[in-house]
């Protein structure tokens, strides 16, 4: 009897357990426990470390949505760039103390052969059809535990501002276009000896450059030819490097909890060309010499990073107003300028980094003869969105430029189809009024698409 009862109880218990287990399994399968299942990794060559070298090819198609206007090589709406480029970087470690790196790019633009609507100048053809750009070629040498030297061609970026050159006076910029270049191509290398001494609280940088050159300017007739307003003059225009080829830069940076502050001093050549002399046979543009004293700072608090930059550019040549151009044929007038930036990055909204910077430029002395006002205001708003484990990246910028230069809007989307292949699109819209210095370039809006394959 006891056995029978026990057996019945056991049977019931077993049946109940089986039912319960089935229910639980079903419930588990339908709900959360599935998500604790081990995921298989299906990736080749995971055990191999990637090569320290990197190569990629990039194909860019650029379409000018308006005709740039008189004086430019392109007279119609249509493609303005069909550019293929190859990029290579090679790193090598010689010893524990010495390593080296070379990085360069080569470009070929087929537009001049494929589009008969574009009548390129000889200068444009020679500069843009095939182009080679050295980015880096340097040795990194650890002199002691704390002193390091980077010797050779290198890109150096200082300062906090992304819109205005205040402390970032070392690297010349690629001004072939306005905000169309890939971010990595904006700054150019300089031949330099860069000494660094770092501790946890302080970093001292000393940079000495030789024949660093000036901002890259678009050639005659190109859509961003900076001298387009002067092309009707009878004299040819000539560009010269600075007479004094040596430039000095020092930065002392102090890191404290949550922030940093840097003091920057420089005796440098202005990377923006200015008129040095106007003669009957030629207009000569070159770099003037100026000195820079700047303070930069960043401070992180909660979801915000605050940024500020303040600088004085002493004895800087500035462009006169068009009506006064003839008064300064022996060289443009020199003034001191106070430049400042205040801004922030905010990361508390939907996987988006929102950035804003406000700029103020104050020019000392009598500015009546200049092309700029005594006080100029500018601003830049940026948005960077990339959702968790999503491939699409969206970058948007709206810039109100200093120096009566109007506004620019930029939208860039990127999507990697695989780890090695990404596609992207870029839209740039220029909004320049007649009073803006950049008015001649108002019709240069572009839509670009590109693909990049890494190998």
């Amino acid at each position: 009897m006891l056995f029978k009862l026990t057996a019945t109880a056991l049977l019931r218990c077993y049946a109940t357990s089986v039912l319960l287990a089935c229910c639980m399994l079903h419930s588990a399968a339908a709900n959360s426990d599935d998500f604790f299942a081990d995921i298989d990794v299906n990736v080749d060559n995971l055990d191999q470390l990637p090569s320290p070298n990197k190569w990629f090819v990039r194909q860019l198609l650029s379409y000018g949505v308006e005709a740039p206007g008189q004086g430019f090589s392109r007279s119609e709406v249509g493609f303005n760039k069909i550019e293929t480029s190859i990029h290579g970087e090679v790193s090598y470690t010689f010893s524990e103390r010495i390593s080296g790196r070379i990085e360069a790019e080569a470009f070929y633009d087929a537009i001049y052969r494929l589009d008969s609507d574009i009548q390129p100048s000889a200068q444009e053809l020679s500069e843009f059809e095939t182009r080679f750009q050295l980015r880096d070629a340097y040795l990194d040498i650890s002199l002691t535990e704390q002193w390091h030297l980077r010797l050779g061609h290198q890109i150096i970026a200082w300062g906090q501002s992304d819109a205005v050159v205040i402390a970032d006076v070392i690297a010349p910029h690629n001004n072939y276009t306005l905000l169309q270049a890939d971010l990595r191509d904006v700054r150019l290398q300089v031949p330099a000896a860069h000494f660094t001494r770092s501790t946890s609280d302080f970093t001292l940088d000393m940079v000495l450059t030789y024949d660093a050159g000036f901002n890259q300017l678009a050639p005659l007739g190109n859509e961003f030819d900076p001298f387009i307003a002067l092309r009707d003059l009878p004299q040819p225009l000539a560009q010269y490097n600075a007479d004094n080829k040596i430039e000095y830069f020092v930065r002392l940076k102090h890191n404290f909890h949550g922030g940093d502050v840097s003091l920057i001093m420089a005796e440098a050549n202005n990377n923006t060309l200015t008129l040095q002399q106007a003669k009957a046979e030629q207009l000569s543009f070159s770099q003037d010499r100026f000195s820079v004293l700047a303070l930069t700072s960043s401070l992180s608090q909660g979801l915000w990073v605050y940024k500020a930059e303040l600088g004085v550019h002493h004895n800087k040549s500035l462009m006169p107003a068009a009506t006064k151009f003839n008064h300064y044929l022996g060289g443009w007038p020199q003034h001191d300028q106070l430049l400042s930036m205040a801004g922030f990055d905010y990361v508390g909204w939907r996987n988006t980094t929102l950035s804003l910077e406000l700029n103020l430029q104050h020019t000392t002395g009598n500015t009546d003869a200049l092309s700029i006002d005594k006080n100029e205001y500018g601003a830049m708003f940026s948005l960077l969105w990339s959702d968790t484990n999503e491939k699409l990246t969206v970058k948007a910028n709206a810039i109100s430029m200093l120096d009566n230069n109007g506004r620019i809007f930029r939208l860039n989307l990127e999507y990697p189809l695989t780890d090695a292949f990404k596609v992207g699109g870029l839209l740039v819209h220029y909004h320049f009024n007649q009073s803006d210095t950049l008015y001649p370039y108002r019709n240069n809006d572009v839509v670009q698409i590109y693909g990049q394959y890494d190998f």
């Binding site: 604790f36 470390l49 790193s91 660094t196 946890s200 970093t203 990361v347 996987n351 968790t388």
Partner: protein, 284 residues
């Protein structure tokens, strides 16, 4: 004779050792059973993670269509008493190569924000970034910075919801924790986590599974740590996965694989200096 002795010796040992072993297990079990949820999580928090480490890892991102992308990185970590310093250098894919991320994770007792920097090779510039947004994706993955840097012990109330549950043959506590009422807004703002259930191995105080309810409606993340082994004396999960779900449907997931890790190898201080990031990228 030898055999007998051996057997005798073995039997003797068994007789002597078994009660001792049982006793120690009982003592340990009694000790463990007397632990509160907070005590357990304090032990988890205090678990030895090594003074410093160098690891080569892979992060595999799996999107909603099961396409897998790989990011390989070299990581350095060092303990400084009041903070832990961490540096990640991307080795691949080419698009991210030489991107460097540094984080100073200050102990809660320091009562200061963590600090982070990013070196973007395309800009050749070191940028200070906010590290307060711990809910943000770590390296674009399903792991948030909060998941990686660990929980802040003092921010939560803990309770044991199950004394014993087996995970991969290991007895675990199931513990639930939620932000303390007074800190709820701060915790939600910084981590985005509303509630967490975690499975803690009793033998080594190691979190092997977690279910994390996010502030975003319907979003739950599932964490699992496997291949847990002792490396250089430190318990290490060599595979960690995180699955993000929405309304009980998988959105995407990420797997963090440690391919090679060495503890106590002597990591220099220089590597964690933000101003050395560009050089560190070139040297690695």
């Amino acid at each position: 004779m030898k055999k007998k002795n051996f057997v005798s010796g073995r039997t003797l040992s068994c007789w002597l050792l078994t009660p001792l072993l049982l006793l120690s297990v009982l003592v340990s079990a009694t000790e463990n059973n007397s632990l509160s949820a907070r005590d357990i999580m304090a032990q988890v928090d205090a678990r030895d993670e090594g003074e410093n480490s160098v690891a080569t890892s892979a992060m595999i991102l799996i999107d909603s269509r099961n396409r897998q992308r790989v990011r390989q990185l070299k990581q350095y970590a060092k303990e400084y008493g009041d903070k832990q310093k961490y540096m990640a250098h991307f080795l691949s894919p080419a698009d991210l190569k030489d991107t460097v991320y540094i984080n100073y994770d200050w102990n809660a007792s320091a009562d200061v924000d963590d600090e982070s920097w990013l070196f973007l090779p395309a800009l050749n510039k070191v940028k200070r970034i906010s590290s307060e947004d711990r809910s943000a994706a770590f390296l674009g993955s399903d792991f948030s910075y909060a998941d990686i840097s660990g929980f802040e012990l003092e921010w939560y109330d803990y309770r044991i919801i199950k004394e014993s549950e087996m995970v991969d043959g290991h007895d675990c506590w199931v513990i639930e924790y939620e932000p303390k009422a007074a800190l709820r807004d701060k915790v939600l703002r910084t981590t985005g986590d509303v509630k967490t259930q975690t499975w803690v191995r009793k033998d080594i105080f190691f979190q092997v599974k977690s279910k994390i309810w996010k502030a975003r409606a319907g979003e739950i993340k599932y964490f699992m740590a496997t291949d847990v082994e002792q490396i250089d004396g430190i318990w290490t999960a060599q595979k960690m996965q995180m699955i993000t779900t929405k309304n009980d449907k998988r959105q995407h997931s990420s797997i963090f694989l440690i391919q090679d890790i060495n503890y106590g190898v002597g990591v220099g201080d220089d590597i964690f200096l933000p101003d050395n990031m560009q050089r560190a990228a070139a040297m690695n």
